[in-house]
């Protein structure tokens, strides 16, 4: 294994100025808003369909959709249109957007102004996860300071372009991270996802054309503009260009957020001395969950550890890079217990709109509870798969769905993984716990 380190682009300022990186002074003292100045000399079309397109930037919120393509879906000539920033980060074990908001809010604001200018939008909304109290305070201060310096408001830096930002706090609901649930919530409703089509680009917030982008996606834009899209695309591998921020947690020696060039491997991330630093107590990886709780799992096998951090390559293994979370579990971990806790999460967060998800996630939780607490029955694994099949027929990745949004199918990932990699362990556990007749 090579001694891989970070490639700091969007995390550079917060490492250089750990004591004040969130202030306007720190931002301006280290190249803040230079990307915006350059962007304002271009046309919106040049930013989106030349620079961002050439950069190969794909969404960092979970789905990995190409950003320039998403912007191109906006119907021509229909105004007003809105930019909605997804700062609702709730995918279990993902904690990168919170860091970007708390420690470099100006970088995010700069990205928002660039994106809004590129798509021709004059009002942007930032949907901030309700629990991010400090992040909200810092963003509010940053918006005020940016406005005072002429980076927001009317006639930004003399360009004739106007933009205002409304900060909007959520109130505790994971499903509001799903883009249409988010839009419902922003309209003052229960955060229940909408049936698509119509997609937000056509009918989004207040039924107007809307782009929803993730915090990290937008925070990357100033750097793409400054470096040039083609230069940015030289980083990374294949269609996974640039860097991504990985939230590494669990039984590693050095949990934390690491900005890593795509194309390095999970092994690099978990074991490199400058990154995860290996497993606690010199242990080994039993399994890990890439991409957040919604992804299927991988094991400590060489094949899995040596898989590249590449959105396309990992999908061949049936998993995803998703939100960039990587949860690592050592040999002491009960996979059934982890599966139960994730099922409990999905059952709690199901919005209740679709029957297979509302009912199915509850059943997964109940059956996994008894399975992980010494009360399992030999037929339970198959029962779980049967319930899962009603939510995601075929149980294959990428998952099919009988539901309105992907939350329901996501809940099935843990069950499929448990069966795939730990069936024998689970069955042995059931047999050992059984009270002799």
């Amino acid at each position: 294994m090579a001694d891989v380190g970070e490639t700091r682009i969007i995390t550079r300022r917060m490492h250089e100025r750990p004591d004040d990186s969130w202030t306007i002074e720190a931002s301006l003292g280290s190249g803040g808003y230079d990307g915006l100045r350059k962007a304002l000399t271009m046309t919106g079309e040049q930013i989106g369909q030349e620079q961002v397109k050439a950069s190969g930037l794909r969404g960092r919120g979970g789905a990995g959709f190409p950003t320039a393509t998403k912007w191109s879906f906006l119907p021509k000539g229909v105004y007003p249109r809105y930019l909605v920033v997804n700062a609702d980060e709730g995918e279990p074990s993902t904690f990168k957007d919170r860091m970007l908001i708390e420690r470099d809010p100006h970088q995010l604001i700069e990205g928002i102004v660039i994106a809004a200018f590129a798509i021709g939008c004059n009002l942007a909304f930032v949907y901030v996860r309700g629990e991010f109290a400090l992040g909200y305070d810092r963003l509010r201060q940053a918006v005020d300071d940016a406005r005072a310096k002429g980076f927001l408001g009317t006639d930004i830096l003399g360009s004739g372009f106007d933009l205002d930002i409304v900060l909007h706090r959520g109130a505790g609901a994971y499903i509001c991270g799903e883009e249409t649930g988010l839009l419902e919530s922003l309209e003052g409703e229960r955060g229940m996802p909408r049936i698509r089509p119509p997609f937000p680009a056509i009918e989004g917030l207040y039924a107007k054309p809307t782009v929803v982008n993730n915090v990290e996606t937008l925070a990357t834009l100033p750097h793409i503009i400054l470096m040039g899209g083609e230069e940015y695309a030289k980083l990374g591998v294949g269609r996974s260009t640039g860097t991504r921020l990985f939230s590494l947690s669990g039984h590693v020696n050095r949990p934390g957020n690491y900005e890593v060039e795509l194309g390095n491997t999970f092994r690099d991330l978990i074991f490199s001395p400058q990154l995860g630093g290996g497993i606690r107590n010199g242990g080994s990886v039993k399994f890990f969950i890439p991409g957040g709780a919604s992804s299927q799992w991988l094991t400590g096998s060489d094949e899995h550890l040596d898989a590249p951090l590449d959105m396309d390559a990992v999908s061949a293994l049936g998993v995803m890079l998703g939100s960039g979370a990587v949860m690592v579990y050592d040999e002491t971990t009960s996979p059934a217990l982890v599966a139960w806790r994730l099922a409990k999460f999905f059952a709690h967060e199901s919005c209740g709109k679709c029957t297979p998800c509302r009912e199915g996630t509850g059943w997964l939780e109940k059956v996994l509870y008894r399975l992980s607490h010494g009360l399992g029955r030999p037929e339970d694994l198959d029962l779980l798969l049967d319930v899962g099949d009603n939510i995601s027929p075929g149980l294959n990745a990428p998952f099919s769905q009988t539901t309105i949004c992907p939350l329901g199918p996501s809940a099935v990932s843990a069950v499929v993984s448990l069966n795939k990699y730990f069936r024998d362990e689970v069955l042995a556990g059931i047999a050992a716990a059984e009270v002799p007749a």
Partner: protein, 162 residues
């Protein structure tokens, strides 16, 4: 309790930010909790008036969100994570300890929550939405006590700075 005159003025400002008034329901419910310590029926009725919907609409929206407390809670809301990373690093033990310790304490409300995006410092909790990481049952209780003694300054139960 209705909004104080000062908060009423703020509430009107908030409504004016949005193309449609109904969008202000969440921010106004936070404002009401900042003021009252929980989300009262009276506050929901007033939010309904301010946003041009019925009180039932406001309740319908607010009941979807876990941060809105529709019954009185303690001055300190302690939210302990037990999700996938905290699960294997001691979160459930922190929760159990605090639940027992503060079971009969009207000042402190302990709740189990889903991942709060602090997994790099697991196990983690929030006290009125201020983060505290790398906890043990004992250090977690010490943190709560520090708030009680006023050594740590608590946000409102909706997480705003006073």
């Amino acid at each position: 309790m209705a909004f104080t005159p000062e908060n009423l003025a703020r509430a009107r400002e908030v409504v004016a930010r949005y193309p449609r008034p109904k969008s202000a329901i969440l921010p106004l419910a936070h404002l009401a909790q900042d003021q009252d310590g929980w989300l009262t029926r009276d506050a929901m009725a007033e939010i309904a008036q301010l946003t041009g919907v019925t009180a039932a609409d406001v309740l319908g929206t607010c009941s979807f969100y876990t941060m809105f407390k529709r019954d009185p809670v303690g001055r300190l809301v302690v939210s302990v994570c037990t999700n996938a990373t905290c699960l294997v690093t001691g979160g459930p033990e922190v929760l159990e300890h605090l639940e027992h310790r503060y079971a009969d304490d009207p000042e402190v409300t302990v709740e189990e929550v889903e991942c709060i995006a602090a997994c790099g410092g697991a196990p983690a909790m929030q006290v009125n939405y201020e983060f505290h990481e790398k906890l043990t049952p004992d250090t977690a209780a010490e943190v709560v006590e520090a708030y009680r003694r006023g050594e740590l300054e608590a946000r409102t139960v909706s997480g705003s700075r006073r």
